[in-house]
Symmetry: C2
Subunit: 479 residues, 2 copies
């Protein structure tokens, strides 16, 4: 049986491979509404794990959750000029409600700065009310011309953090603290290495003073903007009149940040670790970490013995409190079950048959390495627990090594174009001129993903203009 | 100082009192979009506790979470005739998206039966795919003519469960299992007694075969529909063509259920337990269960001693793993802090001052009874832990006793009207005729909240028609 016959090979068509993984692993499917998707239980369970971990990290920083309206009066968006310009083309607009045309149209939130800050102005009056640290878990809508499941959908799920601070320094510090949180979460939990930095003027969030980003690199060399943290300066504070009286009783506008991570992170997850056999999940994010697959013949007595042993193993693994374990009792045959859970990226599969029970040892398959190994019953629990750490680290290091090879420095524009064509992301110097950035984008489809923090001391001659003292940027095609 | 000067007394104006509680406890506030609200951090923390507990109970039944689109094509709603008739007046409609008029208008989901069942038809083909047990945590929109915070808002948060089964019996059994889950959750966790039963034909969900409900009674005698569970029969299965091949390889339509509990449960919570001093929270739902309030004078050395003791007490309480504890280190004065946490309904407040430390005992205030008591340091942890159970049970029994007095049986229509006017909910017989139901509603504003399960064997002479053998119903005005 050709196990992966349903999954397109990566080398054949990366885009098709990505779609196949989503379908075969049961993560999501297209909805009847163009650009929207249905997140299926297995995909949603991954999102729940992301939520749980991120939420706990936010709360450790003193951030509180709240909920603000889905609908935003059209006039609100217009209060910040760059903001409305950036989002206008993507809006879904409610014009009829309760059977009547609305006096003022309502926009379905594409992001919630305006509706939230109209509330913040009533929550802040004194320096004692600051910092104000709020997060919201919500759905948002941006009309999408080129939809792709998880990565670009008309509706998506995310968290959006919104804060207000007394000083410019505190706001900048906080937006960087959140970027650090996103980076640590992504590397430790999703096992995806990131490149952190600041966006160029043309790529920053509509209405922001500065946008910080973490970018990940997919297996095809394209970049994915994984999460962003914006220092909004006083732009929105002035538009929405959010003032406080400082320690000297003088009125000042607050300094703000906003930051978000969405279901697109699941797209980046797929594109980082998965292989031609299906999804590969780092243990920390896997809804099921160990699946126990009974090998049962037709003999009823043997079947009872096998099922009892499966239960026993599950109990022992559950008792550690460290593992999410499932027994596959479905009526699929043994081979189908193995294939099913392999495609779904479960880190470990344990096969339990009568012969294994007699030998007091079981065959355990590692999803990451596609390797099987015999593990004695005595050491099985210990093995599974330690394997969670090992697989997590292996996937991270594998991705690090891959990215290290994919991101290559270009000395000149010819080399730059060649490296891009070969499927790389490229480090190169840029003189800061938006026209140069625009021309590179037109000619190569690559954009500046960020000016990486780790490269901020490297300067050289710019692409196209050859101007010296130029900053090093990460250029890539992107999703 | 008149501690409750900002909160209207219940006897004076119940509606104003309700609004004042929400404002003073910092639960929510009106939004600029008519009928919408902002759920503030303290209110949202209550919703998070509801979510966590319910979600775990659903998962124990084998229900899986998923996520379906916010937007529903207008034509979908029309596929089930009663469904579209019921929801049409309440719809918010997107007519413009991505800068262009849409070819087909999109409705913002008022509930998701149609969009979900259009997907279910692809998820079900064999009896092996059944039962299909899905839940979604989501926001929904119903344009509201008489908004009231939490109880009726244009947008609200809820969970909606959707299932498909092979037989009519299984579907009915499952919808009743969920009703039982809702009842247990509400009584055990929210400490609110419920009356469970079935809706009359005119009050059932648009498109349902049967609607089961749990109703709670507010302190003013009005009923609140707390949660509902619908047996949808095959209505939607036929409209959306959800078929499976049964064990005999014959095609059949599935039998379905849907069920929901929303943020209106927080409105019922407020109206059940709170008093003229503010919010009262059962410990299981309280975001903060114990607040420690330092009593600090100007003396710096004493202040350090008090703060160290507060930390020590918090550590000891935290170590139990059973309590959510906060120290109020804000710069409010001692009286303000006490008032602040009383209004917010925290079950226990511990006062810590230099004299208490010297005496090795602390004054602990119970929010439910508005009583203070001295507790020795040795027994403080034990006291707090056991008090959580005691307060939880006290509030439930207090509400049970209240409701027992509020719900009174009427022997005839005159008595019925009098009891309603006196602020009661009323048990009375009804012959099943929708015209009689309608006339009672017109004349008294009371509706049939349900035909209670516990009264299903009680029969008698109907209101208005005097027809014998009529079923006993719960009549009440409602929110």
């Amino acid at each position: 049986m050709d196990k992966s016959k349903k999954i397109t090979q990566r080398t054949e068509d990366f885009s098709e491979w990505y779609q196949d993984i989503i379908e075969e692993a049961g993560l999501a499917e297209h909805s009847v509404v163009r650009g929207s998707m249905v997140i299926k239980p297995y995909g949603y369970a991954i999102w729940e794990n992301i939520q749980k971990e991120l939420d706990s990290r936010f709360k450790d920083l003193g951030v509180e959750n709240a909920y603000f309206p889905l609908f935003i009066p059209e006039s609100f968006l217009k209060k910040e000029a760059e903001h409305v310009e950036g989002f206008s083309p993507e809006l879904a607009v409610v014009t009829i409600a309760g059977g009547k045309p609305l006096a003022e149209n309502l926009v379905v939130r594409p992001t919630s700065e305006t509706i939230i800050y109209d509330t913040f102005k009533n929550w802040v009056s004194s320096h004692r009310d600051l910092p104000l640290l709020i997060n919201q878990w919500a759905n948002v809508v941006r009309w999408e011309m080129r939809p792709r499941m998880f990565l670009r959908t008309t509706e998506f799920l995310w968290q959006e953090g919104h804060t207000a601070h007394a000083t410019a320094e505190e706001a900048d510090e906080f937006s960087l603290k959140i970027l650090e949180l996103y980076k640590n979460f992504t590397e430790e939990f999703m096992a995806i290495p990131v490149i952190e930095g600041i966006k160029s003027e043309s790529e920053k969030f509509a209405g922001a003073y500065k946008t910080y980003t973490i970018e990940t690199i997919a297996q095809d060399g394209k970049a994915i903007q994984y999460a962003t943290s914006h220092n909004l300066g006083q732009n929105f504070a002035k538009a929405f009149n959010i003032k406080f009286s400082n320690k000297n009783s003088q009125e000042e506008f607050v300094h703000q940040t906003s930051w978000g991570l969405s279901t697109r992170s699941i797209g980046a997850l797929i594109m980082s670790h998965s292989d031609d056999n299906g999804l590969v999940l780092p243990p920390k994010i896997a809804p099921i970490q160990v699946v126990i697959i009974p090998f049962v013949g037709g003999n009823k007595e043997l079947a009872e013995r096998v099922n009892a042993k499966c239960q026993e193993i599950k109990s022992r693994l559950d008792q550690t409190g460290l593992l999410r374990v499932k027994i596959d009792n479905s009526d699929k045959n043994f081979g189908e079950k193995n294939y099913y859970w392999e495609k779904r990226g479960v880190p470990l599969r344990i096969e339990v048959g009568p012969k294994d029970i007699d030998k007091n040892s079981f065959i355990v398959s590692r999803r990451d390495l596609l390797q099987k190994q015999e593990v004695s019953e005595d050491t099985l629990v210990e093995f599974c627990v330690s394997m969670m750490t090992e697989i997590q680290l292996f996937l991270f290091h594998q991705a690090q090594n891959r990215v290290a090879k994919q991101v290559v420095k270009a000395e000149n524009y010819e080399e730059f174009k060649k490296l891009l064509e070969e499927g790389n992301a490229v480090y190169a110097f840029w003189d800061g001129d938006p026209k140069v950035e625009e021309r590179i984008k037109e000619e190569t489809k690559a954009t500046i993903r960020c000016l990486p923090f780790k490269k901020q001391n490297e300067v050289g001659n710019s692409l196209l203009t050859n101007k010296d003292g130029s900053r090093m940027c990460l250029f890539a095609k992107s999703y």
